[in-house]
Symmetry: C2
Subunit: 208 residues, 2 copies
């Protein structure tokens, strides 16, 4: 029996035998996140990376690559400040809020943070309950409604996005081209990495 062809979307997984991958270059998108954060902090400031994990899970390769790219940009561009790393457990809301509040109270040079998956809004919910909320700025991924609310409020300064509908369209098309048209498919297909701010979000999904 022939193996069932499949396409990876959004997050590439190494060591698989996928027909094709459609998504962004994760390292490069993290590198861009680094530039966007770097523009908002001085050398004396500190930065926090927030991880969201389910109990027992490890980070996705996508999140790891984004973080590598992020750190590389800061290294390449003369940022000498401390980069903190704080892990949130998705099922421990009250505990997360406590730990975040203590962390921010104890590190008042942390002016900006980044979340490498779509959960920046969850962190936003926490931050709004701490005394640090007025001066904290956050960068996140993915144009989902909950993130867009914080983009509009100013807490999230940038969202990095990757046209998920267009990714999905191309994945189905790749399967069709392979199965029906018998065409050869390019294995790795990097999508645009879009920079979304409060001022261009209104038009982002128009006429794509």
């Amino acid at each position: 029996m022939a193996s069932i062809p499949y396409v990876l979307i959004d997050s590439f997984i190494e060591g698989t035998r996928c027909l094709a991958y459609y998504g962004t270059h994760s390292f490069r998108s993290g590198y861009i996140a680094g530039r966007l954060i770097r523009g908002q902090v001085s050398n004396d400031d500190e930065i926090a990376i927030f991880h969201f994990m389910k109990s027992g899970n490890s980070h996705s390769q996508q999140v790891n690559r984004r973080e590598e790219g992020f750190r590389k940009f800061l290294l390449d561009n003369g940022f000498n400040g401390t980069i903190h790393s704080l892990t949130m457990h998705t099922d421990k809301r009250d505990d997360n809020i406590d730990r975040l509040a203590k962390f921010l109270d104890g590190h008042n040079r942390v002016k900006a943070g980044v979340v490498f998956n779509s959960r920046a809004h969850v962190l936003g919910d926490y931050i709004m309950q701490t005394s640090a909320s007025s001066k904290f700025r956050l960068l996140g991924y993915d144009v989902i409604d909950a993130n867009v609310r914080y983009l509009k409020s100013g807490l999230i300064t940038h969202l990095i996005s990757q046209r998920p509908e267009v990714q999905g369209y191309h994945c189905v098309k790749a399967l069709f081209r392979h199965l029906v048209l018998k065409e050869s498919i390019e294995p790795v297909n990097y999508m645009p990495i879009d920079i979304i701010i409060k001022e261009n979000i209104e038009y982002y999904n128009n006429y794509i």
Copy 2:
């Protein structure tokens, strides 16, 4: 005889009876340019707006609206520095270079400039011939090869782009929908305003 239907693309012209417009919100794109420049200058710096004009022509409405948006962002966001305005005449290359060199020599707080049409690369050519080239940063419009070269070299920090091929596609589609399908067409259709930097240009035109 019925009038011939037409669609405006890229630049809206008021007072016309076009069937539809496909392009960006010019004021808002200038507002975004303001944010991108503001992030690169301190309150003591100065900014230059460079206009490119053909003899006898006035600025396009698009360029005027972009400039209004740009100035509005700076006004809204506490920029108190001087904004200079310098006009280049498209047919006077040597004269432009002379005037630019004198201007930059005489205004060493001008660290950043903006060109509201696609000619940032022409200014780039001039700047590379002045002593100010190493510290000057430029924002421009439109992903054309000559601009992309300066984006990659770092002289241009941002290009604002508007998916011209997608605009063109929708313009033709609107005419088809009007003439053949007899559908009603939305008159004003704002396209996404894309922020292009050195780190995402490589993927910008992939799979749109």
